[in-house]
């Protein structure tokens, strides 16, 4: 299984001057798994941070959606009480970030950033709007498929993960060098959420389900 992208992937041009050329130094296997992960407790998480449609006086434009899933370790056990951070473009494909100069409107009712802690079953849940696709300058006529960025900590240094979640059936997916950098197509599939009618709330919002598996086994034995 070759599921991790390489550092150097020329189709994604920004890797060329940023990928280290030396092989990374390998520490004893248990090192990263035994070293506790960052103490992220200083990062503020408020209840309203999990609903990206309720952070302003009005409702954001776009297709309201729910994204939910479980965070698991490599043994399939839930990772409880860990921080999940998300950020995304608005429904028009524009980020609030000042670096984004795409000619698409900002939405005064949408910031596009959220935080949540996983619950006792390792579950997280965000309400948001579906992000739009947007152009980037990697090559002529390059467009990113709709995606939501995720950042997770987990229990150990090995479990830190920053990744992106994609939407099923997006025709831009096969054209995207960032998702395409993952060598094995089964690895790419792991980043695509599935439409879930159980999560969907009738007459209100479509639901997507996306489980996340962090590297490493659980750091501490679980009771029972």
């Amino acid at each position: 299984m070759d599921f991790e992208p390489p550092y150097l992937y020329p189709d994604y041009r920004s890797t060329e001057l940023r990928a280290p050329r030396h092989e990374p130094v390998r520490l004893p296997d248990e090192w990263f798994h035994k070293t506790p992960g960052p103490a992220f407790g200083r990062i503020p998480v408020r209840a309203e941070d999990a609903d990206l449609t309720r952070q302003h006086p009005g409702e954001p434009m776009g297709e309201r959606i729910i994204i939910t899933g479980r965070v698991l370790d490599s043994d399939g056990h839930p990772v409880r009480n860990t921080l999940v951070e998300v950020w995304q473009a608005n429904g028009a494909g524009r980020y609030l970030d000042p670096v984004d100069d795409h000619d698409a409107p900002l939405d005064p009712n949408f910031t596009g950033a959220g935080r949540a802690l996983t619950d006792g079953a390792g579950a997280y849940r965000f309400v948001t709007v579906k992000p739009g696709a947007y152009p980037w300058r990697n090559h002529l006529n390059a467009w990113r498929p709709a995606h939501v960025h995720f950042s997770l900590f987990g229990p150990s240094l090995a479990s830190r993960l920053v990744t992106q979640m994609y939407f099923p059936g997006d025709p831009l997916i096969p054209l995207d060098p960032i998702l395409g950098s993952i060598p094995d197509p089964r690895g790419r599939e792991l980043l695509i959420a599935r439409l879930d009618l159980e999560t969907t709330i009738p007459e209100w919002a479509l639901g997507y389900r996306w489980d996340i598996v962090l590297r490493g086994r659980r750091a501490t034995p679980v009771e029972g």
Binding site: P5, L17, P44
Partner: protein
């Protein structure tokens, strides 16, 4: 074993989302001698990486800093007390163009002897060890992170 979810780049547009108030100060609400760390993240051409996110962690300390237009970051930490090995901070680097994050360590320049005896530093080729040791500049410590090229920082396999 379930396959881990693959990594993807943090991209260029995280600056409105990941920073938080007081994020670069790992000392928040603690006593102890504060040490300021400053440095630049540089690419293989020696150009500043102005869209990187640097995180430092050690024990109960955690700091996060987005680089500015000069690729510069800064943090305030206290020197950790370690039972095993030389004191150091775990440093993680995210950036546009990094499909996976990079992991390195920052050691302290006034710990020559402990650094010489540190088991992790001993696993690093001697000619490259200096890339993991900060430099004292007056009251601050300077620690550049070179992603590629001459004096490329040593990174550890994840």
């Amino acid at each position: 074993m379930t396959a881990p979810t693959p990594s993807q780049t943090v991209g260029p547009f995280f600056g409105f989302a990941l920073p938080f108030e007081g994020d670069s100060n790992a000392m928040a609400g603690e006593s102890g001698l504060a040490i300021r760390i400053e440095g630049q993240v540089l690419d293989g051409a020696g150009n500043p990486v102005n869209d990187a996110l640097v995180e430092a962690a050690q024990g109960d300390q955690f700091a996060r800093c987005r680089t500015d237009a000069e690729g510069a970051y800064h943090m305030t930490v206290r020197k950790p007390v370690t039972a095993d090995g030389a004191p150091c901070l775990g440093i993680t680097v995210f950036a546009r163009g990094l499909l996976r994050h990079l992991s390195t360590r920052m050691y302290f320049p006034d710990e020559d002897r402990a650094n010489r005896e540190d088991r992790v530093l001993q696993m690093v080729d001697e000619s490259r060890r200096h890339t993991l040791v900060a430099q004292a500049e007056g009251d601050i410590l300077h620690f550049d992170i070179r992603l590629q090229g001459e004096a490329e920082t040593v990174f550890f396999a994840l």
